[in-house]
């Protein structure tokens, strides 16, 4: 298995399920698909005749649009299914929704849910390839992959990169996926948050943790900021957004302390003035819009690899 092609993906649920070789394959595939966006006609027939369902149990316009564009550029048929609030008391259950999609014969389901674990559960109910577009605080694997892709394009490598991931780590599916992905490719991770927003038993996470922002910024190649919801201060995670911004936000002074060539990233949507000062968000070394652009290429790659692009006779699914 070491010298042959990486094991075929049947679902994309968690970065934990991937090998370093599979990550490389996804990033390399994204690289070759990225140029499609630069063509006048941004569409290839690779997934023609395949049906991709965007099952969004939680609102996320940005992510849904990104997946929709990705699928359409590969000529897949796209169904958007949004179903908020899915407990049995409110109507059709998640399981029945899954069985309905299964009966309709979709080839891939891109699922976003407020509930951690929902994509994994889905794999037990459907034959289609399941692609996790974010589940609760658990995972958001395509976000982590597009972040790696962006780092690799900007900095030319992943191995040995020093990356600080800062902010509301506890509630962040992005942080879980990203730190695991960075560890997989040999980057060096520092996690920084207020102690109240550190995940429990943070020692099981890749990298080291600190509450000291200035310590975390030391010599980093990538400063990755996580969104902090203003509501958090009402649950005593921190006293005020003003204090949060001072201790864990990035302003011009902190930006200036980064070494030459270091980049600033954010998964969006940003809270300007809280975790990121407005000027920082617009600085030349902030690559936040690149992340959005690259997201489409990475999601195209994921769909392509999951659906065995170009070989429509091949069984795309598999058991979990």
């Amino acid at each position: 298995m070491s010298t042959t092609a990486p094991a075929r993906l049947s679902h994309l649920i968690s970065i934990e399920d991937l090998s370093a070789e599979q990550v490389s394959l996804i990033l390399d595939t994204a690289e070759s698909l990225r140029e499609i966006a630069e063509r006048p006609i941004k569409k290839v027939p690779t997934l023609r005749g395949r049906t991709v369902c965007n099952l969004f149990m939680e609102d996320s316009t940005r992510t849904r649009i990104s997946f929709e564009v990705a699928a359409k550029r590969l000529s897949a048929d796209v169904i958007n299914f949004s179903a908020k609030g899915t407990s049995v008391s409110k109507g059709e259950s998640f399981k029945d929704t899954a069985l309905t999609l299964q009966a309709m014969g979709v080839d891939a389901i891109v699922v976003r849910s407020h509930s951690a674990g929902a994509p994994l559960q889905l794999t037990r109910w459907v034959d289609a390839a399941v692609l996790n577009a974010g589940d609760g605080w658990h995972q958001h694997p395509t976000q982590a992959l597009l972040d790696l892709f962006t780092m690799r394009r900007r900095l030319g490598r992943l191995e040995g990169l020093r990356v600080a991931v800062v902010g509301d780590v506890l509630h962040s599916r992005v942080a879980r996926s990203l730190t695991q992905a960075l560890a997989l490719v040999g980057a060096e991770v520092t996690i920084c948050s207020p102690p109240t927003l550190a995940p429990p038993n943070v020692e099981v996470w890749p990298g080291r943790w600190t509450s000291n922002m200035d310590d975390a910024l030391e010599d980093v190649d990538v400063l990755y900021l996580l969104r902090v919801q203003r509501e958090r201060m009402h649950r005593a995670f921190f006293p005020t957004t003003r204090e949060y911004a001072r201790l864990w936000g990035v302003d011009q002074a902190r930006l200036d302390r980064l070494k030459d060539g270091a980049i600033v990233m954010h998964p969006g949507p940003m809270n300007r003035g809280v975790e990121i000062a407005a000027d920082v968000a617009d600085a030349p070394n902030a690559v936040i819009t690149d992340q959005v652009t690259n997201g489409i290429a990475v999601r195209m790659a994921a769909l392509y690899l999951l659906l065995g692009g170009g070989q429509p006779d091949e069984d795309p699914g598999g058991d979990a």
Partner: protein, 432 residues
């Protein structure tokens, strides 16, 4: 006159510690004689060679769901599960709909239990009206029906004054208060044990401190007013330590632990299979170890099932929407034998005591959980210690099938259960 002779079984008496092969004569629902080579003397002879005979099990914590939750379980299906699991006495919890906070609800449960006739029911009364935590339920009225144990079950009595008064008032009836130990401010939105596993799974954590804070408070309050406290479903190492200290100081406290907190860890949650969702949550290997030791050394008095059926459509939801609870009645002894006795964490007679005399010491359960001696009611279970079986939720007697032991291979199974000398389970079949 009905006569039965259980011939040649290994009689394990948790009351006296007696452990020897013997014949057991039962006359008119009571143990008449225990000895070697007893003659049939007109009795029906049941060959028990190779089988174990012990006191019928007593469960301090069962959810039978009737009235109000009959889609998950009712007194008939729950009683059948009990008989199949070797139980002769159950304490159905008060969190029915309506709540068992007054005599009419308790009378309904008692009457239905007698009609079904497979197991004796000793209902738990609510601590507060509607289990709302505001006004005390009528302990005296309920006590006239024999109820000497009160709990608001899943709803902790959060108000320290109400809890103190409940403990104090209960002393008038020598009743015991049991309080679901959870400081709910610490468990808002909680989905599983807080720790290394929740950290990776991204599920909001239920910290063990939330249990320990509440147990510590209740121990202090019970001690202060000289009242009896029973700690339900101990799940954490810290709780074990608190109870150990309290017992050493003379606090009138008893405690129970469930089969799942003795055998399953939070690692299982990584499947996001809601069969593993329970409150208090499955905890770590270190917590399991502490609970096992406490059970063996008597810090924990009883194994209680917290048998909590939920219909499949409720459990087949996203983890965060699924309700907490697990089936246990039919698997409890086999789990204890397979996971605790066989690996040597606890000896057989002690394990049996924790399912019989232990719970019988917590509240009055009439003739249950006593020694096997002449004159005692013949509430017995006969177990095949060699039986090997695979748990299948669909094959259990409960209406629901939410067992966390699905697919597990277990050793031992009750063959016969006798309630006052009458077979409620015979040759592995429930005798309704």
């Amino acid at each position: 006159m009905s006569k039965l002779l259980l011939k040649g079984g290994r009689v394990l008496d948790p009351g006296t510690g007696h452990d020897a092969v013997a014949d057991l004569r039962i006359v008119d629902g009571a143990v008449a004689e225990l000895g070697d080579g007893l003659s049939a003397d007109g009795a029906e002879v049941v060959d028990c060679a190779g089988l174990w005979i012990t006191a019928g099990f007593v469960d301090l914590h069962t959810h039978l769901r009737e009235p109000g939750g009959e889609d998950a379980e009712d007194i008939e299906t729950g009683s059948a599960a009990a008989a199949a699991g070797g139980y002769t006495a159950l304490c159905p919890m008060a969190n029915t709909d309506p709540v068992c906070d007054s005599a009419p609800v308790a009378e309904l449960v008692l009457r239905r239990g007698r009609e079904v006739g497979l197991v004796d029911l000793f209902p738990v009364g609510a601590v507060t009206k509607g289990s709302r935590g505001e006004e005390l339920a009528e302990f005296g009225d309920l006590n006239r029906l024999g109820i000497d144990c009160f709990s608001d079950d899943g709803k902790p009595v959060t108000d320290a004054l109400i809890m103190r008064r409940a403990l104090q008032y209960a002393t008038a009836f020598d009743a015991v208060i049991t309080n679901h130990a959870e400081d709910s401010a610490l468990t808002a939105d909680a989905q599983m044990n807080e720790g290394a596993v929740s950290s990776v799974l991204g599920l909001p954590g239920w910290p063990h401190e939330a249990e320990e804070v509440m147990v510590a408070r209740d121990l202090i309050l019970a001690h202060g007013v000289g009242a009896r406290l029973h700690v339900p479903h101990v799940s954490s190492r810290g709780t074990v330590e608190l109870i150990r200290i309290a017992k050493a100081r003379g606090v009138r406290v008893t405690a129970e632990v469930t089969p799942h907190h003795l055998s399953l860890s939070d690692e299982l949650v990584s499947s996001y299979d809601a069969a593993y969702k329970v409150n208090p949550p499955l905890r770590t290997a270190a917590d399991i170890e502490a609970c096992r030791r406490a059970l063996a050394d008597g810090t924990i008095d009883a194994i209680a099932t917290d048998h909590a059926p939920h219909p499949p459509e409720q459990k087949d939801q996203e983890w965060e929407h699924a309700p907490c609870g697990m089936l246990n009645l039919e698997t409890a002894f086999a789990v204890v034998l397979t996971e605790l006795v066989e690996p040597g964490h606890i000896d057989l007679l002690t394990a049996l005591a924790r399912m019989t005399t232990g719970p019988a010491g917590v509240r009055n359960v009439a003739g249950h959980g006593r020694g096997i001696e002449p004159g005692a009611a013949a509430n017995l279970v006969v177990i095949d210690p060699e039986a090997r079986w695979t748990v299948e939720g669909r094959s259990l007697h409960s209406r629901a099938r939410n067992t966390p032991f699905e697919g597990r291979k277990l050793t031992s199974r009750p063959v016969h259960t006798l309630l006052r000398g009458r077979f409620t389970l015979r040759d592995g079949k429930v005798n309704a």
